[in-house]
């Protein structure tokens, strides 16, 4: 209901009886029994009041708020013609309403009334009677002066929306919701967890009746689900609350379950196949649940949900976003075929990547913070090796098939990936490859002992099998030119890589025996002969240099030495490649660079200069500076120069390129748009090494995919820039807590012994099945759900939706009940009790789960090693009654500790000891229960345990936890050995209580519980009208009290709703048009946007319906045009005068 459309209703009889004639004031001073009278001299104040201007009568009475007291006022109004009343008694927050009503019943306007607070603010806080009386007089004087200026006001009525919002689905929330729903009101029950039930759902039995908690709770939960008047919003949170009593607008966020609540039947098939386990929150970490789960079998609603935290670090860091967590988890479970499917979702060249990728995923792996990151490429390669040839790449769906043909120049990783991605989108790519083999650097750069040729051929073959045409021996730039391609194909992707040698340009470089790295490796790969000598020098420090060096060894060289101008730390080659090279016997010469090659007919030696490191250059590495006069000579008979590669743009026909206007950079690479990879020629895209310069395989593949997406959008006429931020590596938002993870280093990848590395067979032999599973088991499940999508394959109702998003709803209600419950105290804050250090020290909630028959031990009381305890100690007051943590008593712990004692006795033969300070058994049946437990032979020892320790002083204490305590009743200090310790942890407010209370505009008490309006008289309402409290969120309480409070809150909400309207305090602000200068100062100040500007009249206008009565605009108004009813400037000025009536030295 739009507040501006509200009707204002007048309350009858609120007009002034006497009209606006001369004020006739009656003053009444209350004794309040002895509360006021014992400190304030009431007769003296009465006499004083009689002297005040316009006072007709002044009286005193014992209890003004009582019937006779109020009758006193009414009588005087009738008989003495009073038209103003002052009552000096308690706080107006207490009885202002009472006296206003009395005045109204007497026929006067209720707002002709003012209270002076001489109890809470005077008699109760003073020690000096004289000063207290003086203060009381001043306050009475102020009230008398003020009330003379009061106006007859009318209360506004606002209708109340009959819907109710209940926040929190524990027993209190459930009971409140059912009560309200039964009365016919519509209830929105919002619960943060996936199921309602709260803490009570975790208990086994409840005290003192030992009723099974589930038995009494689940019928209520079911009733909630079935009730037509209750809309149950689980896994949801309140985001924003606007409005006021009777008219709240609440925004609720329904979090994505990734399971459709309507469709899920709760069959549980998905749980069987889910490979990820996670500690169960419901079982307090004592058991595990799967990533797809239901908090407990009787959950309401009885549907599953998936913990999907987002993109794990490995997947985020991978340029092609391989789901490493997914396939690693499946490997761990032995589901290798399923693992392959996960891999093939994003990568058509997995065997290649598993062998040669530089694995940025590993650098991001969270496990690296514990010990060593997972060997992710090794695991990927294992899957492919295991499956062998028996697989197919995913086929594009027939509906997507298109006729457009795309030309791709180059069959390296960029070109292959682009072709694959285009094919998946239905296009028909044609790859033009200049060399006789496909694969680019994969085929002619990386040696076959790192990447076997059969493996590469197989993977490329599978891409071709999808319908990608591959034309070998077809260079572009001669018979077929770039312009031809642009004419014949819808788009072109240039991925020619960087295959041109970078030269040293020093004397002797053309001597026979001096080879370029690219030329050398290509020749070896294509099977050509290379005249390599016995002593080989390799110039350079990148992966190509390492590859060349190791290849040289295999070709029979006796000594191979790498010469690099910086040190090992600056080598751009992968550290593991360098390591392998050293293992194979390659020598490394650092801080040296060749000056010239010398030899007669063939290179015989190289003159080198020593280098030293200077300031860093653009790459961030320290620049090598030649040391003059440091020449030295290295003998050799072959040199391989691998100092970098550049794209062979000339092969594309440089003149033609210039003619076409294709832009290039100063480094000789192609210029492209970084987001779309389009060159400056429309429809011509480029990616890979020909754009970036020499880079790694996976980056080229990412470029291939990016170009495919761009080409698809280009040909479909879609925006090419939108939504592309997550292409390429990014940082995962997931933070994993690694505390307590036991260290286990990486399983080394099996490889051939260096001695056995003769020919070009593959060096790394890869993981076996057991080793792979062992390594995969180290994964920390960062994102929990690993996106393997196995659950969807077994879900018959097709309820699983991975694309689900959070939903935002808005509900309109008239009242709100908060039942958000409590949190248990964390006993890690008390280290000497041993929680977290000793495995058999449990919290109360952990023990509840243990004894619950549906819990992790099936209801048996067991130690962590599976044995039954022979003795159990239960320590009361953990975190409660303690000034260091919570000074209050948590109310329920003594009783549940007795309950635990009883349950242990029932299920085991253990000796049970309860250690308490004072035993609180205050409720119905509680003392009897205490007696019963005593009768069962439980040791009730009055003493706060000083220490829990495993240090044994006698043989009987060995292997036990020893509690040192003074048995104060027996009068002796004791050491008591037990097997298990249960800590009766206290209750504390929810950790986000502060934020919640701000949302609803209520207050918290000092300990953090929601503040009730009055601890005795109004325990379920708050200072904010329309918002009520139920259950432990208001303070620790047991189940009967929580339910009582819930009923009470529901009743108060019903009272509000059934009345149908709310009367607003008429302390709204108004603007006197005549005085308003139109300065607009007030407009921006109003937090409720209640003030608008009337352009015609040139004045500000306040919308009374929106005004809440804060008065900020009034204080700011420079002309005094804005005033607040009940708090006008004049009224307050005169109150100030009154309050200082006895001040000397007034100016």
């Amino acid at each position: 209901m739009n507040p501006t459309e509200m009707e204002a209703a007048t309350v009858n009889g609120s007009k002034s009886r006497s009209g606006s004639s001369e004020p006739r004031i009656g003053v009444y001073i209350c004794h309040c029994g002895a509360n006021i009278a014992q400190m304030v001299d009431v007769p003296e104040v009465v006499e004083f009041a009689k002297t005040l201007p316009k006072v007709v009568v002044a009286r005193e009475y014992k209890f003004m708020c009582s019937d006779p007291g109020q009758e006193l006022i009414k009588q005087d109004v009738r008989e003495l013609g009073l038209n103003r009343v002052v009552v000096a008694s308690c706080s107006p927050l207490m009885h202002e309403l009472t006296f206003r009503r009395a005045l109204e019943e007497a026929g006067e306007n209720p707002f002709y009334f003012q209270m002076a607070n001489i109890r809470e603010h005077v008699s109760w806080v003073s020690l000096d009677g004289g000063m207290a009386t003086a203060k009381a007089k001043a306050l009475v004087a102020a009230a008398v002066r003020r009330v003379a200026l009061h106006e007859p006001l009318e209360r506004k009525r606002v209708p109340v929306n009959p819907n109710v919002l209940v926040v929190g689905g524990g027993i209190a929330g459930i009971h409140a919701a059912l009560t309200l729903a039964d009365s016919g009101k519509r209830v929105y029950l919002v619960e943060r967890e996936p199921s309602i039930g709260g803490h009570m759902a975790k208990f086994d039995k409840t005290f003192p009746t030992l009723d099974c908690a589930a038995c009494i709770l689940t019928p209520k939960m079911t009733a909630v689900r079935a009730h037509p008047n209750i809309e149950l919003l689980t896994y949801s949170e309140v985001e924003a609350v606007e409005g006021f009593v009777g008219n709240f607008r609440v925004k609720v966020r329904k979090k994505a379950r990734y399971v459709d609540e309507e469709k899920c039947t709760g069959c549980g098939e998905c749980v069987q196949v889910c490979p990820v386990e996670h500690p169960s929150e419901f079982d307090e970490g004592l058991a595990k649940r799967k990533a797809i789960f239901r908090p407990f079998p009787q959950a309401v609603p009885n549907v599953f949900l998936i913990s999907r935290l987002g993109t794990p670090p490995c997947q985020a860091a991978c340029p092609i976003h391989q789901n490493a967590q997914g396939y690693i988890t499946l490997v761990r479970e032995g589901k290798f075929k399923e693992a392959l499917e996960v891999i093939l979702r994003d990568n058509p060249l997995p065997s290649v990547c598993g062998r040669v990728c530089t694995h940025p995923c590993t650098a991001a792996c969270t496990r690296g913070k514990v010990d060593e990151p997972l060997h992710i490429p090794g695991l990927k390669r294992f899957v492919l090796d295991f499956v062998g040839d028996e697989y197919e790449l995913p086929r594009p769906s027939p509906e997507l098939e298109k006729d457009e043909r795309i030309a791709i120049v180059g069959s390296g990783p960029a070109g292959l990936m682009c072709a694959y991605e285009l094919r998946q989108r239905g296009y028909k790519p044609v790859i033009f490859e200049a060399l006789p083999v496909a694969g680019g650097m994969l085929a002619v750069g990386i040696p076959s002992f790192r990447l076997p040729r059969e493996v590469l051929k197989r993977e490329i073959g599978k891409i071709e099998a999808l319908g990608v045409e591959l034309r070998l021996n077809t260079p572009i730039g001669r018979e077929v030119t770039l312009e031809d391609l642009r004419k014949q194909y819808k788009a072109v992707f240039i991925a020619i890589g960087a295959h041109l040698e970078r030269r040293l340009n020093i004397p002797g470089e053309d001597l026979p025996g001096v080879f370029g790295g690219v030329e050398f490796l290509r020749a070896v790969s294509l099977g050509g002969k290379v005249e390599l000598g016995r002593r080989v020098l390799v110039i350079g420090g990148g992966n190509s240099a390492i590859d060349a060096a190791r290849t040289a060894l295999r070709l029979g060289a006796e000594e191979v030495r790498i010469v690099y101008r910086r040190t090992k730390a600056e080598m751009p080659a992968s550290p593991e490649e360098v390591e392998e090279a050293e293992r194979e016997g390659v020598k490394l010469e650092f801080l040296a660079a060749p000056k010239r090659f010398l030899g007669d007919g063939r290179v015989e030696r190289v003159e080198c200069l020593r280098m030293e490191l200077g300031e860093p250059d653009e790459s961030g590495r320290r620049r090598p500076i030649p040391i003059p006069g440091s020449e030295f000579v290295l003998p050799c008979d072959s040199v391989i120069v691998t100092i970098g590669q550049i794209p062979d743009l000339a092969s594309l026909g440089e003149a033609r390129l210039r003619g076409l206007g294709l832009e290039t950079t100063s480094q000789g690479t192609l210029t492209v748009d970084p987001v779309t990879l389009q060159t400056n020629l429309p429809g011509v895209f480029a990616g890979g090494d020909c754009v970036t310069g020499p880079d790694v395989v996976v980056t080229a593949m990412a470029a291939g995919r990016k170009a495919a997406i761009s080409i698809d959008r280009y040909l479909s006429g879609l925006d090419m820039y939108e939504g592309r931020e997550l292409e390429g590596p990014f940082e995962s938002k997931i933070k994993v807590d690694i505390e307590g993870v036991p260290r286990k280093p990486r399983v080394p990848l099996p490889s051939l012994e260096p001695a056995r590395r003769r020919g070009f067979e593959e060096v790394h032999t890869g993981y076996t099945e057991e080793l792979a599973k062992e390594e995969a088991a180290r994964c920390l499940d960062c994102a929990i759900c690993c996106d393997c999508r196995l659950c969807a394959t077994v879900c018959e109702p097709k309820a699983i939706d991975y694309q689900m998003k959070d939903q935002e709803l808005e509900v309109e209600v008239g009242s709100i009940i908060l039942a958000t419950g409590f949190k248990a105290f964390d006993p890690r804050k008390i280290p000497h009790l041993g929680y977290g250090r000793y495995p058999n020290v449990l919290t109360a909630l952990e023990f509840e789960r243990m004894v619950n028959s549906a819990g992790p031990t099936g209801g048996k009381v067991l130690l962590k090693d599976g044995r039954e305890p022979k003795s159990v100690g239960i320590i009361h007051c953990v975190g409660s009654r303690d000034k260091r943590f919570h000074p209050y008593c948590s109310r329920v712990c003594c009783m549940y500790s007795l309950k635990f004692a009883h349950l242990v006795k029932e299920r085991t033969n253990a000796e049970v000891y309860n250690f308490y300070i004072d035993l609180r058994a205050f409720g119905k049946g509680y003392e009897e229960f205490y007696s019963r437990v005593l009768g069962e032979g439980v040791h009730l020892i009055r003493g706060n345990v000083g220490e829990v320790s495993d240090v044994a002083l006698t043989p009987e204490e060995e292997g036990k936890l020893i509690l040192t305590v003074e048995d104060t009743l027996a009068g002796v200090v004791r050491r008591i050995p037990v097997d298990m310790v249960i800590l009766a942890t206290g209750l504390e407010p929810q950790p986000d209580a502060e934020e919640i209370r701000r949302l609803f505009n209520i207050s918290c008490s000092r300990e953090g519980w929601f503040l009730e309006r009055h601890p005795k008289l109004a325990p379920v309402s708050t200072f904010t009208d329309g918002i009520f409290l139920a259950g432990a969120c208001q303070g620790p309480k047991d189940i009967p009290d929580a339910i009582s409070q819930a009923g009470a809150a529901a009743a108060e909400a019903l009272a509000l709703i059934d009345r149908g309207f709310v009367e607003l305090e008429p302390n709204t602000a108004y603007i006197d048009e005549a005085l308003c200068s139109g300065c607009k100062t007030c407009i921006a100040l109003c937090p409720f946007s209640a003030i608008s500007f009337d352009r015609e009249k040139g004045v500000s206008v306040i919308n009374e319906a929106l005004c809440k009565g804060c008065g900020t605009c009034v204080a700011a108004c420079p002309s005094g045009a804005a005033q607040q009813n009940l708090f006008t400037d004049q009224q307050i000025y005169t109150e100030i005068e009154g309050v200082l009536v006895d001040a000397q030295g007034a100016l």
């Binding site: 014992q38 603010h121 000025y1133 100016l1147």
Partner: protein, 170 residues
């Protein structure tokens, strides 16, 4: 010292040792500070009887003129109480009060009013003990400063310097 119940001490005065009893006017906002003062009363916390409380709905209602009026009528000190920032029942009223208070402080300093005579405190509804503490502290502070007699105040510049404001050119 334990108090016997029902003893009428209304006429008994305790000599305070000092003749000067400060008179302090307090403007307390209804939702937080006034409620906290009620709580102090309910909890029987005893504090100096020198403060007279005037209730407003929000500290944002407090016009600086109220403060001046109070001094004019003979107050030796003025105390403004509001909700903690972020907790205002009307969202932002206390921020407005803070702004006005800061400006008012500068003005008062230039008029020769000592620092400490005007005080602003954020007191939440549950902080009854803070009400006691602030009132006791302020009473002592004003007692130390003595009665409010601006005609005998220090020269303007010195006061301004004492209040931390830059010196005005003469």
């Amino acid at each position: 010292m334990p108090k016997e119940p029902f003893e009428d001490r209304s006429s008994r005065s305790i000599p305070s040792g000092s003749a000067f009893e400060p008179k302090i006017v307090a403007f307390f906002c209804n939702w937080c500070t006034y409620t906290a003062a009620d709580l102090a009363g309910t909890s029987r916390m005893h504090y100096a009887p020198n403060v007279r409380i005037i209730r407003v709905m929000c500290s944002g209602r407090i016009d600086p003129q109220f403060v001046l009026k109070a001094f004019h009528e003979g107050a030796d000190g003025v105390l403004i109480g509001g909700c903690h920032p972020g907790d205002c029942h009307y969202q932002e009223g206390n921020y407005k009060a803070l702004r006005r208070y800061k400006l008012l402080k500068r003005l008062l300093a230039q008029l020769g009013v000592e620092e400490g005579r005007l005080r602003l405190e954020w007191i939440a509804a549950s902080e009854g003990d803070k009400v006691k503490r602030v009132i006791d502290e302020m009473t002592e502070e004003i007692r130390r400063l003595g009665p409010f007699r601006p005609s005998e105040a220090e020269p303007v510049e010195k006061q301004a310097v004492l209040a931390g404001q830059p010196r005005e050119a003469r």
